[in-house]
């Protein structure tokens, strides 16, 4: 049976060119970038080239990029690192109800450390309003975090407007851009972001690397203590091969960005049209104007999402429900719960997400199989 992967928002395959770009750093250029010899210098050059390229790709400068183990660490470093370093200036933080757990759970940790956190509501499309954030700002607010694009429903947040609101307040602005990176055009100056977090494995790079953009001059505590890597902001020997792979992945993503967007729009249309033709009732979750084109979240009224996912898997179609469920916990997705009160809608939602290696034919097959399974379960 052919397996069709429609879960690129969870993680994505490493692009063959990325794999090639990484190889030398495992074979011949394996040195430690901190070493003073030839091997060290070769590794350091690879690391610096990656940092330089990635910095430019978002309008940042070289020293503003800190490589981390991934998106979660980057989010934690910004949120926890900054808040703890500035707790004497204020104990109030603002975020939204639809953030990734890498952000939400960092805030929950800070609440235990004595911070007060405001979780801003979203509308039925999952959008945060900049006015709502403005209303919540206080004298003692030191950090605001709002994601760029939502990983579950694809809604793009008005980050530029939020950046503008915050430009007149002392609070710094952090945005989790993990899901939007490589798909949307991102310029940290335009957003007026102070921190921005990204990950490689969502854009056909390797797992185990991400970065935090931290605007020059910002002071924050590290999460890891040890050597002087990343200008003492992130100790530990750098993952040079992964950084080189990350660079290549960004190169490819930037080069193909417009084509990919067009292709994903096409896939989206195939799924929706197929379901309509097959007379399958569905509802789209998320904003239908400002959305990440590679994410399509649909609810099938009356269908049990557990059965649906398992049946699709057995048919060779890999999709996911809002949030990964462990050991059968059915906490409905916090994102869908924040968007609508109708619990049945969040209990019947699945996410299709597109990426490298898919074909129109695959998407069509997957849509037909989805229709088939939904029909069977509707009985």
């Amino acid at each position: 049976m052919k397996h069709i992967y429609l879960d690129h928002a969870a993680t994505s395959p490493v692009h063959p060119e990325v794999f090639e770009a990484m190889k030398p750093y495992y074979e011949t250029k394996f040195g430690n970038p901190s070493s003073i010899h030839h091997f060290g210098r070769e590794a350091r050059r690879g690391l610096d080239e990656a940092r330089e390229y990635i910095a430019k790709s978002i309008g940042a400068s070289f020293e503003e990029i800190i490589f981390t183990s991934g998106g979660t660490e980057a989010d934690n470093l910004a949120i926890i690192g900054y808040s703890m370093a500035h707790k004497d200036r204020g104990r109030h933080l603002i975020t939204t109800k639809v953030e990734h757990h890498g952000v939400l759970h960092a805030f929950e940790y800070l609440e235990k450390q004595g911070f007060e956190v405001t979780y801003t509501d979203v509308d039925e499309n999952g959008s945060v309003s900049p006015e709502a954030i403005e209303r919540e700002l206080r004298e003692d607010t030191i950090l605001v975090s709002c994601m760029f694009g939502n990983n579950e429903v694809g809604t793009i947040q008005p980050v530029k407007e939020i950046g503008r609101v915050l430009s007149e307040h002392k609070a710094v602005f952090h945005t989790d851009a993990v899901q939007a990176f490589g798909i949307e055009e991102i310029d940290v100056n335009e957003i007026q972001a102070d921190f921005l977090a990204c990950s490689a494995h969502k854009v056909n790079g390797p797992k185990g690397i991400g970065f935090l953009y931290a605007k020059s001059g910002l002071i924050f505590n590290p999460l890891l203590y040890g050597g002087e890597q990343e200008r003492k902001r992130r100790a530990g020997t750098e993952n040079v091969a992964a950084a080189a792979g990350f660079k290549k992945a960004v190169e490819i993503a930037l080069g193909e960005r417009q084509d990919r967007r067009r292709i994903y729009e096409g896939y989206r249309k195939i799924i929706l049209e197929t379901l309509t033709q097959e007379e399958i009732p569905y509802e789209i979750n998320g904003d239908t104007e400002n959305y990440l084109p590679h994410i399509l979240n649909l609810s099938f009224p009356g269908i049990n999402v557990e059965s649906l996912l398992m049946n699709l898997d057995l048919e060779g179609v890999a999709v996911s429900s809002g949030s990964a469920c462990t050991a059968g916990s059915i906490d409905p997705s916090h994102v869908l719960t924040a968007m609508c009160e109708d619990e049945s809608r969040s209990h019947s939602a699945i996410r299709f997400s597109f990426g490298y290696g898919l074909s129109e034919e695959d998407v069509k097959t997957a849509a037909l199989k989805t229709a088939q399974v939904v029909k069977r379960l509707m009985k």
């Binding site: 557990e306 059965s307 049946n311 898997d313 057995l314 059968g328």
Partner: protein, 370 residues
């Protein structure tokens, strides 16, 4: 309900209910060896997340994942917390409230494992569900018969007595004809990750916790008097629901003579009766009336009387009895050949004809010698 067809193993999809224990691991392993299309599913029926966020279900599911990956079969987890609460736990509390000692495992098999889970498996295109129960099924012209497991010590038909034909039609018990020590051996030989895992004990949702403490979270306890049958007040009890007939532990009555036992309960007056000696006459009865009786194959006609054996508790040896179908719905009268000790309302009474489990019911009344 669902169609069953004779198919070759390779074409037969079997969903195995996997708990993360050795029995269900071996059940899945044997089916896979026999060439079936096997899918492992972990059921989460109870949320036992503690104050540190630790949940044993997560660890058990991790074991299911390890075994399924060893067997190269797909695995999933399903959640029946709501169904379990509504159908099993509510019943469990109601029975305790009524002063009885319920058996939640019988209800769990009837309503969850062989209903909610079976339905779910069928929605995945399964032909059968399999579990790691020590029991067997025999498909004959009479329909499906439920037979005792080969390991007499482990036989679990007692808990399966409430299953219907429709349910049993889709059931496989791959380890029913194997003895427990051999099951462990098979797990070791196959190097299954759960080969040396300790067997779980007690009622699943209570686990190793203190039963009294657990129950007190859900039901208000009313203290009362502990009396002898002559009305002498010995001590106070903590609430009738905490005691079961024939119980010795936890009474706290000292003094000379034989140890004290719970011999009766008076729910209306909230009195716990105690008596001295394991064989206290008040603990003995001549028969019982069972309610909600399920007959797996043939249902006896009204007024019919017949001989068989019965178990009143799990792991007790069979006792010869005469069954009288009284004609009041699903009630039967069970007359013992020999007086029986500590027959407990709420527990299951299960009937057997040699190896065949005929069915069973819930003990409703105890018939004592006048």
């Amino acid at each position: 309900m669902y169609e069953t067809t004779e198919k070759r193993p390779e074409e037969t999809r079997v969903v195995v209910g996997m708990s993360g224990g050795v029995d269900s691991s071996v059940a899945a392993y044997l089916l896979k060896q026999q060439g079936y299309q096997v899918i492992g599913i972990f059921m989460k029926n109870w949320d036992d997340t503690d104050e540190n966020g630790v949940c044993t279900a997560t660890e058990d599911y991790d074991d299911v994942i390890r075994v399924c990956n060893q067997l190269d079969i797909p695995y999933y987890a399903v959640n029946f917390e709501k169904e379990y609460w509504d159908k099993v736990f509510t019943y469990f509390l109601e029975e305790y409230k009524a002063g009885r000692t319920p058996n939640p495992d019988v209800m769990c098999n009837k309503e969850i494992k062989f209903k909610a889970f079976l339905d779910h498996a069928m929605s995945l295109g399964a032909d059968y569900v399999a579990t790691g129960h020590y029991a067997n099924v025999r498909r004959s012209e009479k329909g499906v018969e439920l037979l005792r497991g080969k390991d007499d010590n482990k036989d679990q038909t007692y808990f399966l007595n409430a299953l219907s034909q429709e349910q049993l039609q889709h059931v496989m018990f791959p380890i029913g004809d194997i003895e427990k020590p051999r099951v462990r051996e098979i797990a070791k030989e196959a190097e299954l990750a759960t080969a040396s895992k300790k067997d779980s004990t007690g009622i699943c949702f209570i686990g190793e916790r203190n039963f009294k403490e657990f129950l007190s979270q859900y039901l208000p306890a009313q203290k009362g008097e502990m009396q002898t049958l002559d009305g002498e007040v010995k001590r106070h009890h903590d609430g009738l629901m905490y005691y079961t007939l024939g119980q010795r532990q936890g009474l706290g009555i000292g003094g000379p003579g034989e140890p004290w036992f719970v011999v009766d309960k008076d729910l209306e007056r909230n009195v716990l009766y105690v008596g001295q000696g394991y064989h206290h006459p008040a603990l003995y009865s001549e028969g019982l009336v069972a309610d909600n009786v399920n007959w797996i194959n043939e249902e006896p006609a009204e007024g019919e009387e017949f001989r068989c054996t019965a178990k009143f508790r799990y792991r007790q040896k069979d006792e010869p009895v005469t069954i009288v179908k009284t004609g009041e719905g699903s009630r039967v009268k069970v007359v013992f050949d020999e007086p029986q000790r500590a027959i407990t309302p709420g527990q299951a009474v299960v009937f057997y004809n040699e190896e065949v489990c005929l069915g069973g019911g819930v003990i409703d009344e105890v018939i004592k010698k006048d």
